[in-house]
Amino acid sequence: MIETLQMILEGVAARLRYQATTYLPSLLAALIILVGAWVMALLARWVLTRIFKGMAADRFLRRSGLAFMLDRSGRLRATRLAAQSAYWLILIAGFLTGLSVFDTDLTSQITQSFVFLLPRLVLGGLILLAGVWLSQYLGRSVLVWAVNEGLPSPRRLATAVRILVMFVAVVVTADYLNFARHIFLAAFIILLGGAVLAASLAFGLGGRDAMRRWVEQRRGAAEERAEERSLWNHL
């Protein structure tokens, strides 16, 4: 009995020893790589913050309105953006290198998938970012135009434009990433077609009288304005 127990314990100890000698060095190596990468990432961020001026990039961020979109305070600077990007890239690279130390099928697969997917994810993110920017830009343009033209429900109109643009951006991103592309595309076509049909029906049947009244009102206001123009000129 004691011998059997001793054998089992020896077997466990042997397995533990084997696993420790097999994986611990790899784990330690991975940890060292990760810490090294973290130190390098910190260093890169520190160096970039100090030496990278990025005035032209700052100007682009400010002039395009991206600085305000990404950070409501508008204090986003290219230096910070570049430093943060470098920090995370080095950290991710370190993590992947650390994983590859284990040299197993699973870790190789994870590393490969990540390396292949990362550029696509970045580009997909950029497409979404462009979509957000465009939806905000067009939404605000429509809002201001509708307010100045005295159209009914300007905010709803602007929201509809925003949703439409964002939806297109999501469909394009999904198509690019090959992620449920058929579902998104079908949903897009169904929703767009449905919206157009609903708007046509509403305009043609339900809102006919309301639209007529509104158009007449607008015509009356335009005539009134035309009369005033001859009386006094804004310039």
Binding site: R72, R140, S141, V144, E224, W232
Partner: protein, 438 residues
């Protein structure tokens, strides 16, 4: 003396008759010139400048010119062809003179080449032009040594609201000279300033192409030229209905003002206060027209925008200002509606700063000023409904003083790069003046 037919010349022609004074006329969009304008130019040169060689330049002339020269055989006239179509490319409709900058440039080029010491420019479709207009625009240059003679018109109290509510107070606060018509539809100019303006390479960039008069005034004020104004009397504006409506027109004027603000920032930041401009001609008052209608529609537009455009305004205006706009709308009650000068001043300054800060957003940012302008204008009309011209002048003067008082605030937000006005903590800007100060 025999009648001399007009010479048709290109702007690059070299065999031009020499002249000391030039009476320039910019033809209307169709190339026409009203006979009264030509007659006034001829009469002016004959009556007021008989001793110096004079020349009439008509820029953008097309088709038959009125036979006015038969009445004035001594007059010499040069016709310049209409501006090329290249400059007619225009972003969106405005008040209908996209070709004007090129027509003016051609006119100044030829005037400069004739050796003219002074040149007066008027529009060919203004029916109230008299010989005295040319005299009043030319004499300060010839005898007073001025480089730029801006016009001053007799206007109905509600006429030119963009000028007396936006352009005049802003330009006065910036450059320190009380010029009533900075948009300068008519003007007199010296050879020195002509050379400076003609040295500009790109006359097709927005502030010059859209509002050449404003640009020229800014150059004169910003670069230290001697500037005065001449009281010309009433100007008949004709059917100048803006094609793109008020939002397009106001946006483009504001865009020009704010772009020029950027160009001359070091100049205006160093100037404080204002002084009256030397003024020539006799000021006289005419009977006032009845109050125009339309205040209700202006107020409706303002209130509707307060309800819906808050999201857009919050990108431009500070929290304080946005709150004040909402309070103004909430306090409104028919005739009692008041849009304070202080509020309008802050709005204009904050739009100017946002225009600089967010160039990509200009297409929606500038039209967002329209409902606020309509709110201010409605208040101005209601406040001055029963006022005589002197009282209206006082009202405009108090607005201008408010713009001057708040100039440090403009300097402050102008230099702040980055943080949008909307994210600033309340009460951070310049201290509010007491009612007695404004």
């Amino acid at each position: 003396m025999a009648f001399e037919a007009p010479i048709e010349a290109s702007p690059d022609a070299v065999d031009l008759p020499p002249a000391d004074v030039v009476a320039g006329i910019v033809a209307a969009a169709g190339g026409e010139v009203h006979p009264g304008v030509l007659r006034a130019a001829c009469l002016s040169l004959e009556k007021y400048f008989p001793q110096v060689p004079g020349l009439i330049l008509v820029s953008g002339a097309a088709g038959e010119m009125p036979d006015v020269l038969l009445e004035f055989p001594e007059c010499r006239m040069v016709l310049l062809p209409p501006a090329s179509s290249a400059s007619a490319v225009f972003p969106f409709p405005f008040h209908g003179t996209p070709w004007k900058a090129e027509a003016l440039r051609n006119l100044l080029r030829v005037a400069s080449r004739t050796g003219a010491r002074a040149c007066a420019v008027v529009h060919g479709d203004v029916r109230t032009v008299t010989p005295e207009w040319f005299e009043l625009l030319l004499r300060p240059v010839l005898l007073g040594g001025y480089d730029w003679v801006a016009p001053r018109y007799h206007r109905h109290k509600y006429d030119g609201a963009i000028t007396h509510g936006l352009a005049y107070p802003l330009m006065r606060a910036l450059y320190g000279l009380q010029l009533r018509e900075p948009l300068a539809w008519e003007f007199g100019i010296s050879d020195r300033l002509m050379h400076r303006l003609l040295a500009e390479d790109d006359w097709n960039r927005p502030p010059i192409r859209i509002t050449p008069g404003l640009w020229m005034t800014t150059v004169a004020l910003g670069e230290g030229y001697r500037v005065c104004q001449s009281f010309l009397g009433a100007r008949h504006w004709g059917p100048a209905a803006p094609e793109g409506g008020l939002p397009a027109m106001l946006s483009q004027i504001a865009d020009s003002l704010f772009r020029l603000l950027d160009d001359y920032a070091p100049v205006w930041r160093a100037r404080n206060g204002s002084r009256p401009a030397d003024c020539f001609g006799h000021r006289f008052d005419l009977a006032l027209d009845p109050t125009p209608r339309g205040v209700d529609s202006m107020l409706a537009a303002f209130f509707a925008a307060c309800k819906d455009a808050g999201e857009v305004w919050s990108e431009v205006l500070s929290l304080d200002t946005l709150q004040a706009v909402r309070q103004t709308a909430a306090r409104a009650g028919g005739q009692a509606f008041r849009f304070e000068n202080e509020l309008w001043t802050r709005i204009v300054y904050e739009f100017a700063a946002a225009h600089r800060r967010q160039p990509a957003h200009r297409p929606w940012l500038l039209p967002a000023l329209t409902p606020l302008y309509l709110g201010w204008l409605a208040s101005f009309i209601l406040e001055t409904e029963y006022s005589v011209s002197a009282e209206v002048e006082e009202k405009i003067e108090s607005l201008c003083q408010c713009f001057e008082h708040y100039k440090p605030y403009l300097v402050q937000i102008w230099t702040r790069n980055g943080a949008p006005a909307s994210s600033r903590p309340a009460g951070e800007h310049a201290p509010s003046p007491s009612p007695a100060e404004v």
